[in-house]
């Protein structure tokens, strides 16, 4: 019985492999605020959160999914489950959960209670960056899932306060999408409290534009 429960949990987490882009860290420093705005041809989202500690953040999340025709708005909680600090590297494991409401926009359908769960993980040195994120939605009228992974390299190592540049490659999988798997090369610029990502997905001919600010 216990093994069945574990298998169910593993399956749920596996399905939870719906992700938003393998984004930046979903927690900030104590008393820090963050605004994350993500856009690609399939979805646009905004996430505003406050971190009471370095391992928690809570805020509002809203996503319009242009590909699957739904809109979610709700509260999101992010938890840094585990951090591995090493000399010259850092790795993190995150859990995310959201609860709110969703509606399939455009057809006049009723709003329904909705939620999602997600997992994220990353490993970073000053030269290399690797990340994975998965997220699964239950929107009442439908379910959705996606996952993505990234690898990145910094072409130069900047000091604190410099403009930091990363060249990244993102692979994203959305089983329900017309193009389930896509590859997106992107450039990340990080300066002061601002992070900007610009990418392009050849398979769908879509532009990616992400922006994060922390204060």
């Amino acid at each position: 019985m216990k093994s069945i429960q574990y298998a169910g949990l593993a399956l749920a987490i596996g399905f939870a492999g719906s992700i938003q882009c393998a984004e930046a860290r979903p927690v900030s420093y104590p008393s820090g605020w963050t605004v994350m705005q993500m856009n690609n041809g399939d979805m646009s989202s905004i996430h505003v959160h406050y971190s009471p500690t370095y391992s928690d953040s809570i805020g509002l999340y809203s996503e319009r999914n242009w590909d699957a025709d739904w809109h979610f708005t709700g509260v999101q909680y992010n938890r840094l489950v585990k951090r591995w600090n090493r000399a010259g590297s850092q790795a993190n494991l995150y859990f995310k959960v959201g609860a709110g409401q969703a509606d399939p926009f455009g057809d006049g359908a009723d709003v329904e209670a909705a939620g999602f769960v997600g997992l994220g993980a990353d490993w970073e040195t000053r030269r290399w960056f690797v990340a994975y994120e998965g997220r699964a939605y239950d929107l009442g009228f439908t379910q959705d899932a996606r996952q993505s992974a990234r690898i990145g390299i910094a072409p130069y190592i900047g000091d604190y306060g410099d403009l930091h540049t990363w060249l990244m490659l993102q692979v994203e999988n959305q089983p329900e999408s017309e193009t389930p798997t896509t590859l997106t090369p992107l450039v990340r610029f990080f300066y002061d409290v601002q992070l900007l990502e610009i990418g392009y997905t050849p398979e769908t001919e879509e532009l990616m534009l992400n922006w994060i600010v922390r204060f």
């Binding site: 104590p30 370095y54 391992s55 850092q90 990080f190």
Partner: protein, 110 residues
């Protein structure tokens, strides 16, 4: 003649004492105004955002005058205000609160 000598001595002493006292006060003031530079070596500090977190957390401490982060060496350099102190335990707490692991602490005159 003897009374004249005593009068001169008393006058000199009266003037010299405040000067000596002032000198002593200046010396004590110089000792207490010496700033301390605390260097904390930490693990996990690999990006500008990490450095910003550390700067924010340490910067809220009343005893801290300036925070400098050396990403190359994984070090936090904290200059304390004159006459203040930041215990090792407090430094460890602040590093932990920033999200990183303390390796060692060193102290020097700033």
């Amino acid at each position: 003649m003897k009374s004249l000598c005593l009068a001169v001595s008393a006058t000199l002493f009266a003037f010299a004492s405040p000067l000596a006292l002032a000198e002593n006060e200046r010396s004590a003031e110089a000792t207490s105004s010496a700033q301390t530079l605390v260097t904390a070596k930490v693990n996990g500090m690999v990006c500008d955002f990490c450095a910003r977190a550390v700067t924010k957390v340490f910067g809220k401490e009343a005893a801290v005058e300036n925070v400098h982060v050396d990403l190359d060496n994984g070090e936090i350099h904290v200059t304390l205000k004159s006459g203040t102190d930041l215990s090792d335990e407090r430094v460890a707490t602040l590093v932990k609160k920033s999200g990183y692991d303390l390796v060692s602490i060193a102290r020097d005159a700033a």
